[in-house]
């Protein structure tokens, strides 16, 4: 056997990992403050914001993709903005894919983080304050370390979920080699072309990847419950 993967397959695999890595980093930066706010606020806005964040869990990816496509299109608000900034239009670009994936995977990062933050006793934060730590100091020196298991879960789920997306990619990114053709789309192409062997290799690879990642997560991540 020469090689299980064609160069187009390898390119799709590389693109998928690049997309998932960039999206995971952005999600942690964006999702952490949202999760912290949701975990601590007593505001009336907690419900609506939490619901919006959770929408991608229940909506078909095509719906999210459709609206993002409209928003990023030449007549959408995001499209106007990007055009005014001289960036051009985002659909069918890697950047557009990143933005769409951030929306799509947001709940998978925010919810584990929110649970982890909610599990931190108020007393730990109060104790830090009586030991001269300001609010931001307390966040970095007490809250984040105590939320470490949640942080790990959030990163893994965010990454894995982005790797596994299909519908949103198809709506926003299309199927452009090296730019937006990720593994799930590549598998679709193989099946369309009746290349079942190639589809098998990629699909089995995805199964193994997903299993190993989740196995590592469930085996090594301490559950947030500690005494």
């Amino acid at each position: 056997m020469e090689s299980a993967f064609s160069s187009a397959d390898l390119s799709a695999i590389w693109l998928t990992f690049k997309l998932a890595a960039v999206v995971t980093v952005i999600l942690l930066l964006v999702g952490t403050p949202i999760a912290w706010w949701l975990a601590r606020t007593r505001s009336w806005w907690k419900g609506p914001v939490g619901a919006v964040v959770a929408l991608p869990i229940v909506l078909p990816p095509t719906v999210i993709g459709f609206y993002l496509l409209v928003a990023m299109g030449p007549n959408g608000p995001l499209g106007h903005l990007t055009q005014a900034l001289g960036i051009g239009l985002l659909p069918f670009t890697f950047a557009g894919l990143v933005i769409a994936s951030v929306f799509y995977s947001l709940p998978f990062v925010v919810q584990p983080l929110q649970n982890a933050f909610e599990a931190i006793p108020e007393r730990a934060l109060e104790t830090a304050a009586t030991l001269r730590a300001s609010a931001s100091d307390t966040f970095f020196s007490v809250a984040l370390p105590l939320a470490k298991p949640g942080l790990l879960t959030a990163s893994v789920l965010g990454f894995a979920h982005t790797v596994g997306e299909f519908g949103v990619v198809l709506m926003i990114g299309g199927n452009i080699p090296d730019k937006t053709r990720v593994v799930s789309v590549q598998i679709y192409d193989h099946v369309e072309a009746m290349e079942y062997a190639a589809a098998h290799w990629l699909s089995a690879g995805m199964v193994v990847f997903a299993f190993v990642v989740l196995l590592l997560l469930y085996t090594f991540n301490p559950t947030g419950k500690r005494k």
């Binding site: 109060e126 104790t127 830090a128 009586t130 001269r132 609010a135 007490v142």
Partner: protein, 356 residues
């Protein structure tokens, strides 16, 4: 002085506290659960924010109208009921948490010193506080608070979550802090024996209000306050170790009103001790008792008599120049002996507990 005035209300609870106490020694906030002790302490720390609060500590304003010094800017130490050690930090890093956050010029105590005081030498090397006993955890928490060199130490029932053995273990450390450290302490407790051991001043709280405050002796000696109705009501006597009787294994304690013999204590002659005489352990005789096995008999003058339920009365007496003694006897005994205010009697002390 420490002057604190807070008004705060929650559904089902209101705090209207106005408090002025000396800013030295240990001030105990004492009262039944739900009386607002902890809430008052949290207000002083800034953990509860009230709209109209006033807090002055040794002339510095920490809170006044619109001015509110946030918790982390207040030079205080806080020991919670549960030790609240950070589980993700080693014991040493827990101790250093506050220490690292104050400027070096403000550090009045060294880590080694505090570790020594609280007997933490064997614990400081632990990677995590997880394996520590309740008493050990609380000692680490106290040390951690002290290492911020606080100008006021707030303790919220630090012993109440501990079993009897841990309490016993930690008490000497608290007494030592009291003796060696010049930091005013506000100590919340609902256990009278703890208060009698540790406090210099006593603040009584009931239903969110301060109902009395003053020197420990003075407050414990008042029959009009709820402390007088407690089963373990009694007087505290500050005395000096005067003599040891090796043959009978006894020690004589002298105080302003006379002396008391107690089981021998290993203290140097001249050292000060604190003894507690419960009201129920003091009986009254109108003539000097003959042939009694009770060796501690003090001449006293009755200054107050108060009914204590249908069958008992409480007596307040003065011994010598101002030492107060309480006694609880039956109403029948009072009538049979014709006890009245101003009478000179003999107080027979059945038992003296040396508490510090």
């Amino acid at each position: 002085m420490i002057h604190a005035r807070f008004d705060l209300s929650y559904p089902g609870f209101a705090l209207h506290a106005d408090l002025q106490v000396h800013a030295h020694g240990v001030t105990a906030l004492f009262g039944p659960s739900g009386s607002g002790k902890t809430t008052l302490l949290r207000c002083i720390a800034g953990l509860e924010r009230t709209a109209n609060g006033l807090l002055q500590v040794k002339g510095e304003v920490w809170q006044d109208g619109a001015n509110f010094l946030p918790v982390h800017r207040r030079p205080l130490g806080y020991v919670f009921q549960e030790a609240s050690l950070f589980p993700h930090l080693s014991v040493r890093r827990n101790l250093e948490y506050g220490l690292k956050r104050i400027p070096p010029v403000q550090r009045k105590v060294q880590l080694e010193q505090v570790v020594e005081w609280l007997g933490l030498n064997k614990l400081i090397g632990r990677d995590s506080p997880a394996g520590l006993s309740g008493g050990e955890r609380q000692r680490v928490a106290i040390a951690r608070a002290l290492l911020t060199s606080p100008r006021l130490l707030l303790m919220d029932e630090p012993l109440s979550a501990l079993d009897a053995a841990s309490k016993h273990e930690i008490m000497p450390y608290l007494e030592r802090l009291h003796g060696e450290l010049d930091i005013p302490v506000i100590y919340v407790s609902h256990a009278l024996d703890e208060v009698a051991r540790l406090a210099d001043q006593l603040v009584l709280m009931e239903q969110g209000r301060v109902i009395a405050s003053g020197a420990l002796n003075e407050i414990l000696g008042r029959l009009d306050l709820p402390t007088a109705h407690l089963d373990d009501a009694g007087a505290v006597i500050e005395a000096s170790v005067a003599a040891h009787d090796e043959k009978y294994h006894l020690t004589r304690l002298d105080f302003s009103g006379g002396s008391l013999w107690v089981s021998k204590v290993e203290r140097a002659i001249g050292s000060m001790v604190r003894a507690r005489v419960l009201a129920r352990d003091v009986s009254i005789a109108t003539a000097a008792p003959q042939g009694s096995s009770i060796s501690n008999i003090l001449e006293a003058r009755i200054d107050r008599i108060q009914d204590e339920g249908p069958d008992r009365v409480s007596l307040r007496m003065t011994v010598g120049s101002g030492q107060i003694l309480l006694s609880r006897i039956t109403r029948r005994s009072r009538d049979q002996l014709n006890l009245a205010i101003g009478m000179e009697v003999f107080a027979q002390v059945k038992s003296v507990a040396l508490i510090a």
